[in-house]
């Protein structure tokens, strides 16, 4: 290793009681790279003090004394006394303290008898175990001056066990100024500097005053789950080996991209994520590949929705939302199907299994349904593949028009729902609106509907799934056995 610069410090030391006969010399340059200094000290404690002093100078350290640490007496555990512990740390941790012009009285001579000054800061007993996020401008490692004395190890153990201690500046005015915090991370203790001056971010506007601040039905809990699924962790050595040259964080980004392909932000914007029956479909889709069993689970969910629709089961949709009050049940199913398609389509190219799920969905979906995409509400980019934007716009407009109907019209529509078998003529008006969206006549729509209900009444014969046409061969393995 080439040496750019060298400071040679010669410490002359003599046993206690003897006379130091060597004259000290201040630092002087011997050559452009070497400077030399001679200093002397008595042995024992004096030598130790000298060395600490030289360390502080060389590494630019300074001292803090934590005062008033309450500690049980060693002999008498029922009473407690206050102790002080002196710490060394990089001087920069006190930058803020001394920048202030009222710094007088903030330093006192070292309590451990070191030839340096120390800043006494008062211990504040932590009130709770909860780890809070403190605003902090710097963090530096510390070391107690007397490493293993009882007060020191009491303090260090307290910190290493996960508690954080706030430190308060002594102020004559009585104002409470907390300027530092001691906390351990990974077995190392740090002194954190906390800003004490006025912040320009004081009195910030509330988030509710800004864009989107008045929407009240965000999917907060679901996004909480999303965040937990996208938690970051350090990559293990084994993982690094597997990754090769690709950086670990890129895998986190992949995961983030994947899990956010279809994610409505607001409860009232989604039917899909409000119904329990949809599980475990969204979770299974996130997988890189699916087993036959998992594909079957996905298909089961789709078939379950088919069943629900044919029975006209009510869907749990919150009454009040930004899009107006309670859309018709039929509309809800349309949205549900559209959402399911968007969701499944956004993962369809992940694996063969995913593609099979999409295929299943497309088969089960009512043929009359528009290939509605929900681009408007979701961050996804992949679902744009299906349907042109014009169609999307049109269908949304229709939906909006439906919602703009007068209360009476809506009630009529809802009443109509209850007696599906004999739709009263009143229903026509709203029905007409819906019809236009599909570009179908009433007759074709009705026929389609009957057809779907018909086709879903019985479970599809499994043998037919693999067959070419409508006919399925029976006993296909019969010949093999011969």
């Amino acid at each position: 290793m080439p040496i750019d610069e060298c400071e040679l410090v010669i410490v002359h030391t003599v046993p206690l009681g003897q006379e130091i006969r060597i004259k000290e010399r201040v630092q002087r340059e011997i050559s452009p790279v070497v400077s030399c200094e001679v200093t002397s000290s008595l042995s024992g404690r004096h030598l130790y003090n000298k060395l600490v002093f030289l360390c502080c100078k060389h590494f630019d350290l300074c001292s803090t004394t934590v005062t008033g640490i309450p500690m049980k007496e060693e002999q008498n555990a029922s009473s407690s006394a206050n102790y002080d512990v002196e710490l060394l740390h990089p001087a920069a941790a006190h930058d803020d303290l001394f920048k202030n012009e009222h710094a007088e009285g903030l330093v006192i001579p070292s309590k451990e008898g070191l030839p340096i000054e120390t800043a006494p800061l008062k211990w504040c007993t932590p009130k709770s175990n909860v780890v809070e996020l403190h605003q902090c401008s710097a963090a530096y490692r510390i070391c107690p001056v007397d490493v293993n004395s009882r007060p020191s190890s009491c303090l260090t153990n307290f910190l290493i066990n996960g508690r954080a201690v706030m430190l308060e500046q002594p102020r004559k005015s009585g104002a409470k100024v907390i300027s530092h915090m001691l906390a351990a991370h990974g077995g190392e203790i740090f002194i954190h500097s906390l800003p004490t001056s006025r912040s320009i971010l004081e009195d910030p506007p509330s988030i509710s005053e800004g864009c989107g601040g008045r929407v009240t039905d965000y999917r907060i809990t679901a996004f909480g789950e999303f965040m937990k699924e996208n938690r970051l962790v350090p990559a293990s050595p084994a993982m690094l080996e597997r990754y090769g040259n690709r950086k670990p964080y890129l895998y986190a980004l992949d995961q983030l991209e994947k899990s956010s392909r279809f994610w409505p932000m607001v409860i009232s914007d989604t039917v899909l994520f409000n119904i329990q029956d949809i599980n475990p479909l969204p979770q299974l889709l996130l997988k890189d590949s699916m087993t036959d069993e998992e594909v079957l689970d996905c298909k089961k969910v789709i078939l379950k929705v088919v069943g629900m629709e044919s029975k006209n089961d009510p869907l749990p949709v919150p009454a009040a939302g930004s899009r107006g009050k309670g859309p018709k049940r039929e509309e809800q199913y349309r949205q549900l199907w559209a959402e399911m398609e968007a969701l499944i389509r956004s993962y369809s190219d992940t694996s063969e299994g995913h593609a099979m799920v999409l295929e299943c969905l497309l088969r089960c979906k009512k043929p009359g349904d528009d290939p509605v995409t929900l681009a408007k509400k979701t961050p996804g980019k992949k679902e744009d593949k299906s349907g042109s934007t014009a169609e999307v716009e049109q269908s949304w407009k229709d939906l909006d028009r439906f919602q703009q109907m007068t209360e009476r019209e809506k009630q009529d529509a809802l009443l109509g729902e209850k007696s599906l078998d004999a739709p009263p003529p009143k229903k026509l008006k709203s029905e007409e609106l819906l019809m236009r969206s599909g570009g179908q006549t009433l007759l074709s729509m009705w026929n389609n509907r009957l057809k779907t209900i018909e086709s879903k009444r019985s479970h599809e014969f499994d043998g037919r799934l693999d067959s070419d046409g409508d006919k399925a061969r029976l006993y296909i393995h019969l010949d093999e056995n011969r």
Partner: protein, 509 residues
């Protein structure tokens, strides 16, 4: 970034200005006040969280308004400005330094100094100040620049650019900015002095130094237009061989999430509010010329409130789950987004920037090395490699090293041996462990006489044993004392082991 407006109120500012199109007579200070109002209008529209203070100066200075976001206070103060004696810029700078350090300590600030090109006369003139800059003796006399806090110094000169006084003054102003050494700019009027040219100049300054930072926050496929306040500054790191500059890019990318307990309270270099930006704003801005747009603006802001925004969703979940979002702001520079509340009621989304670089937080490890928790196949496997990232070496306070700096240190180690000695044979293993530890430390310090002293102590303990003591205790004490007196005791590689006795299996096993 708080701003101090320093307005020259010397007599020269009351010189009349001849305006071709307006019959009334105006003075320079009126134009200056008009300029400041233009600037305040810009802030109200685009940068309303800025704190502004007004300082008037001539031979003396006076803070007319403390730092405030209520710009009407400043407008009112401007109306009451009177005219005093001669220009003295050094006084103004001293005043500004005082006003800022009292309030903000080390926060980056900006100063807009408004004057008319007259440098002042005599001792307090800028010419004299700059000539004597290196001759100041005492601390009190020291020239106020460079400021002890980060601060840009802008100088606006209200005067015809062709005016010989103005042309003469510009090099001195530049010198002032150079001495300040923290950036800033001279703003002169484009064309002859008029309300319009003053207005344009202040707008130019505001648009350059107070334009809001607009960017996009992404999180996977989520994307949201945002604004950061205050506007992020460049981060310049000085290295041995040159400097590296880091700039916050307009694409802020969330990498993933961490629990607050895992991130600790990491050191940060700057904090910015993350405010969602209306996507409609751009089209509005174009229409702003017409005044009738205003009512539509109100409608829009209401609509904005009802359009779901990713930032609000993120904020809500971060707060509920006590998590932060690790965000990449440019190559090798990271920050965390979290829910922050000034008071209990109003909370908002905050971006705190770490020190640039991969390893700015020792306990999370390098940012590039973070990956999705889904990459681990099981929870157990994940736990093995989770936070905090532990350093390779153990700190001296985290292990039981022997420290005999003060007599108390030695004393407590010896006492520990004796405490165990008194509880023999139950504490036989602890006794020999402590004995060996102390002996090894004594040997490595060259403290050989301690061995003999310890032997004597153990022998004394042996004689003090009560009659009820186990016979094995006396055997072990004698054995240990004998060893300490033997030659083997001086060999660091050797250690003293319990004496095998017939009792030992019964008592310790």
């Amino acid at each position: 970034m708080p701003t101090v407006i320093a307005l020259d109120v010397s007599l020269s500012m009351s010189r009349p200005v001849v305006l071709s199109d307006i019959p009334e007579e105006y003075q320079r200070r009126h134009l200056a006040v008009h300029g400041i109002n233009t600037y305040l209008d810009y802030l109200s529209a685009n940068y309303k969280l800025e704190f502004v203070s007004l300082v008037a100066f001539s031979y003396l200075y006076e803070q007319l308004s403390t730092f405030t976001r209520d710009y009407n206070v400043i407008r009112t103060a401007l109306n009451k400005v009177e005219v005093f004696s001669k220009t003295c810029i050094e006084t103004a700078l001293n005043g500004i330094k005082h006003v800022i350090s009292d309030e903000w300590s080390h926060t980056p600030c900006q100063v807009i100094l408004i004057t008319d090109g007259s440098l002042g006369i005599g001792v307090g003139s800028l010419k004299k100040s700059l000539e004597t800059i290196n001759m100041r003796q005492s601390v009190e006399e020291k020239f106020p620049l460079p400021f002890p806090f980060p601060c840009k110094l802008h100088i606006v000169c209200i005067g015809n650019p062709n005016d010989p006084d103005v042309r003469n003054a510009l090099p001195y102003y530049q010198r002032l900015i150079d001495v300040g050494d923290q950036g800033g700019e001279i703003f002169t009027l484009d064309g002859a002095i008029s309300f319009k040219s003053v207005e344009d100049t202040f707008n130019r300054l505001a648009e350059k130094y107070y334009n809001p930072f607009c960017g996009n926050l992404t999180c996977g496929n989520f994307s949201c237009a945002i604004q950061l306040f205050p506007k992020p500054e460049l981060f310049i790191r000085h290295l041995d061989d040159g400097k590296v500059t880091y700039t916050v890019s307009d694409k802020l990318e969330i990498l993933g999430f961490l629990d607050i307990k895992d991130i600790g309270s990491p050191p940060t270099v700057a904090r910015h509010l993350v405010l969602p930006r209306s996507t409609k704003e751009k089209t509005d801005a174009k229409d702003k010329d017409g005044k009738n747009v205003k009512s539509e603006d109100d409608d829009d802001s209401q609509d904005d409130g009802k359009t779901p925004s990713f930032t609000v969703l993120l904020h809500g979940s971060l707060r509920v789950e006590s998590m932060v979002a690790i965000t990449k702001v440019c190559d090798d520079w990271y920050g965390m987004i979290y829910s922050w509340a000034d008071s209990k009621k109003k909370s908002n989304l905050m971006l705190a920037l770490f020190d640039p670089g991969q390893d700015s937080i020792p306990w999370t490890g390098s940012f590039d090395n973070l990956t999705s928790c889904k990459e681990y196949s099981s929870e157990d496997e994940e736990k093995k490699s989770s936070f905090p990232v532990k350093p390779l070496d153990k700190r001296s306070y985290a292990q039981s090293c022997v420290v005999w700096i003060k007599p108390s240190g030695l004393q407590s180690d010896i006492q520990k041996v004796l405490r165990h000695a008194r509880k023999l044979p139950e504490k036989i293993h602890q006794f020999y462990k402590e004995l060996n530890r102390t002996r090894r430390a004594a040997l490595s310090f060259g403290f050989h006489i301690l061995l003999d002293a310890m032997a004597s102590m153990l022998e004394r303990e042996c004689t003090l044993l009560p009659g009820t003591a186990h016979p094995n205790a006396a055997l072990q004490l004698t054995h240990a004392a004998n060893f300490l007196r033997s030659d083997n005791a001086f060999d660091v590689m050797q250690s003293v082991t319990p004496l095998p006795t017939n009792f030992s299996s019964g008592n310790t096993g």
